[in-house]
């Protein structure tokens, strides 16, 4: 796996920040917005110039920030998996993004007609553009595609990857997502009045909304047979996945959390697990009034009065939209590997609607199965279940 986020440029740095309880929420520096003194974000403190230099891009490249972050994380994933060549394995790429190359589009949108020099960015707006650039950087030729289901996108990319492997369609697939901060999403969430002016406080009575973040993360999925043949180190197993639609409202989740309940049910069924088998839940937990209430009710629907330890890691990274499912997949795998439950930072007061208390301190515990939720606009609800590497053998 590979990751770049507000709490680290590598897998190792992300793990260290989690263990040392160092969140990455700050004032925005790399993007000009009139809201810069009001909002807090999970920003990666590297400028576009620095990223381009790091990637050795030519002066006249048309990489968006989304694409650069994606390439960095996907490269790390491939290197960490010990992959030196794509052939002869049929290798695919499934990447997620919410607004694609919006970060450059919003910079040059009005300039394009009059300034030929920046027109090369017109075509990098396309959400598939970052995916193509990642595929080119990794040398992948074959099946590549892009998923955009708002904030559940990367979880869905991981889900499709699992399907491609399970069916034998591919021998190996790199899955994940990338999203850069943009004025477009900042103002979009601002108009919906779900951006907090303070650090986000998931599952807290007084939660004020989310902090946006930017990040990219990718995982390498391979089937059992390839693992056995290649004598590879397995980080974890993706044992269950489920997707359902709330079919309630374009942007709001239903109050009873029906879609989320269905997604978790399906994932447990695919994994062949019972609710009691889950040792930790990495909740979607955006800290909006609506999400946490709906998700909390869904947890109670599934787990009753025995909800396992749960937390949202969005106080560390901010809500990284289409990348969130992949970021939290990496953190879920850390949990399995380290036997650690990440604290839900900033929590003070329980919500009055139910008795759910997120974990507030770092806890050591044997963890065999982690359930991770991601929900998005359009009623999209996704659940993934990760199982410890030693647990299927």
């Amino acid at each position: 796996m590979g990751i770049v986020s507000a709490i680290g440029n590598t897998v190792e740095e992300n793990l260290r920040s989690l263990v040392e309880l160092k969140p990455g929420i700050s004032r925005i520096e790399n993007l000009h917005t009139v809201h810069k003194d009001v909002i807090r974000v999970g920003e990666i403190k590297r400028t576009n110039k620095e990223l381009a230099k790091y990637l050795n891009l030519a002066e006249d490249n048309n990489f968006t920030r989304t694409a650069m972050l994606g390439v960095i994380a996907a490269r790390e994933a491939v290197e960490n998996a010990g992959i030196t060549a794509m052939d002869p394995w049929r290798t695919g790429l499934v990447s997620a993004t919410s607004v694609g190359g919006m970060d450059t589009t919003e910079r040059y949108f009005k300039e394009y007609p009059g300034n030929e020099a920046v027109r090369r960015y017109i075509l990098s707006h396309d959400p598939g553009d970052s995916t193509h650039k990642i595929a080119d950087a990794l040398g992948i030729r074959g099946f590549i595609t892009t998923i955009s289901t708002a904030c559940s996108s990367a979880a869905n990319a991981i889900m499709l990857g699992a399907r491609l492997i399970r069916s034998g369609e591919l021998d190996r697939v790199i899955v994940g997502g990338t999203d850069a901060l943009s004025k477009f999403t900042i103002n979009g969430f601002k108009t919906l009045m779900i951006l907090s002016d303070a650090e986000n406080t998931p599952f807290d009575r007084d939660r004020k909304g989310l902090n946006l973040g930017e990040a990219a993360a990718y995982l390498v999925l391979e089937p059992e047979a390839a693992i056995k043949a290649g004598n590879k180190r397995v980080l974890a197993y993706l044992s269950g996945y489920g997707n359902a639609n709330d079919a309630y409202h374009q942007t709001a989740s239903s109050e009873n959390g029906e879609g989320a309940t269905l997604a978790m049910e399906k994932a447990l069924q695919v994994a062949g697990l019972l609710p009691g088998d889950i040792n930790y839940i990495n909740v979607h937990g955006t800290a909006t009034g609506n999400n946490d209430l709906s998700e909390g009710r869904a947890l109670i629907n599934i787990f009753g009065d025995r909800v396992p330890p749960f937390s949202s890691t969005k106080p560390f990274t901010g809500h990284t939209l289409a990348a969130a499912g992949a970021i939290e997949a990496v953190y879920s795998i850390f949990s399995l590997q380290q036997g650690l439950i990440w604290p839900n930072l900033n929590f003070r007061n329980p919500m009055p609607e139910f008795d759910l208390l997120p974990e507030t301190t770092l806890q050591k515990k044997e963890i065999r199965h982690v359930l991770s939720n991601s929900f998005g606009f359009g009623g999209n609800c996704s659940t993934l279940i990760f199982t410890a590497a030693h647990d299927l053998h």
Partner: protein, 387 residues
């Protein structure tokens, strides 16, 4: 087996009521307008004003497909869209830039997410099933097909609504002109563009009225022209079909003078009498125009004839004793205005006008191969077979 049990299409042709291909609208200009279906028959009036054209066309196309398939329960809704709800994206971004991030309203932002079409279809149907949206340019629709096929073959799902939809937006299409995607004048690079939506009901259950079967689909991010033939060979091998079994080829050729080699290489591999069918001269180019091609191919499989308006070369093997002209159906070409007028008045379009195209009825068309690429990337093969 995966059966195509329903199809619906809104496009620059009168596909929504089945008038096309008997009636063909002659394209005018480089951005072809869609023939509007009677939206009010499918969408509440207050919603019609609020919805973007992609959502509206997607809702109508999916309703048509579901109606044909007998309104089955759905196990998944899978949508492909290259540019997504670009009109709302454009509107929200313009407002941000012009008002310096102040005084914004959320409506355009809410409707701008790429999964809005799939979400609105689900909302309209009250469908809580699996719902995905693929956004990878010219293989957005094909990605949706790949996903649907895997779920149907593994019996995770029995019936799936799958489709492709794209909409146009004035400023974005102007930018596409600047970037060389859309033709801006005679002899300029780029293609004639349009917008549209096509949806299909795929199911493991065969119905009396099934169009045919989806045998396989493959997606490739890049291919050199010389690699097209080997890639096709590998695809056909996988499906257990020989090149000689292919009775018709549907290609995504557009009017951009660039990137045409791919299609000539591909069709060059078939005997000259195998019909090569094109459609983008009538549908226009857009990221999910290949879903129009799929709609057309499904119709050809079922009807057994290749309308002359889409026949690029070759001819189908004629049925014994039946010459082409004997089996001809009437085809006529009308202007967009006339067609829109008729659509608005919900008239059937069977009378009057000149006879131009003569459809050719062939021997059984059993296997149709579809091939599409866009500007040298995002290649796809699809194999459809008769029931």
């Amino acid at each position: 087996m995966i059966y195509i049990n329903g199809r619906g299409c809104v496009s620059a042709q009168k596909t929504f009521d089945g008038s096309f291909p008997d009636e063909v609208i002659a394209p005018e200009g480089y951005i072809l307008p869609v023939v509007p279906p009677p939206y009010k028959d499918y969408i509440a009036p207050a919603m019609i004003r609020r919805m973007g054209s992609g959502v509206k066309n997607g809702v109508v196309a999916s309703a048509l497909a579901l109606q044909e398939a007998g309104s089955p329960d759905l196990d998944a809704i899978i949508t492909g869209t290259g540019v997504g709800c670009i009109k709302d994206s454009e509107a929200f971004l313009t407002a941000i830039l012009e008002n310096h991030e102040e005084f914004l309203t959320p409506t355009a932002f809410i409707q701008s997410t790429h999964n809005t079409v799939g979400a609105q279809i689900a909302l309209g149907l009250g469908c809580k099933a699996y719902n995905f949206s693929y956004v990878n340019s010219a293989v957005s629709f094909e990605s949706a097909l790949v996903d649907a096929r895997l779920q149907l073959l593994s019996e995770e799902a029995r019936t799936i609504l799958v489709g492709g939809v794209d909409e146009k937006a004035d400023y974005t299409y102007h930018l596409f002109g600047l970037a060389g995607l859309i033709k801006t004048g005679e002899g300029t690079p780029g293609a004639s563009y349009s917008e549209g939506a096509a949806f299909f009901v795929l199911s493991t259950d065969k119905q009396e009225e099934s169009y045919g079967m989806l045998k396989d689909v493959a997606v490739m991010n890049c291919l050199e022209p010389e690699a097209v033939a080997p890639a096709l060979e590998a695809f056909l091998r996988r499906t257990g079909t020989a090149l000689a079994d292919i009775d018709a080829v549907v290609i995504g050729k557009n009017d951009d003078p660039q990137f045409q080699e791919y299609y000539s290489v591909l069709s060059g591999g078939f005997s000259p009498e195998v019909p090569v069918i094109h459609y983008k001269h009538l549908s226009g180019e857009y990221n999910t125009a290949s879903a129009f091609g799929f709609w057309l191919a499904a119709g050809i499989l079922k009807s057994g004839y290749v309308p002359e308006a889409v026949l690029l070369s070759g001819q189908p093997g004629l049925s014994p004793g039946g010459a082409a002209s004997n089996a001809a159906t009437l085809g006529k070409i009308v202007s967009h205005e006339e067609a829109s007028h008729r659509a608005a008045n919900s008239e059937t379009a069977q009378s009057g006008a000149a006879i131009r195209g003569a459809a050719i009825r062939g021997a059984a068309i059993r296997h149709i191969l579809l091939y599409n690429q866009y500007r040298g990337i995002d290649h796809s093969f699809i194999l459809l077979s008769g029931c």
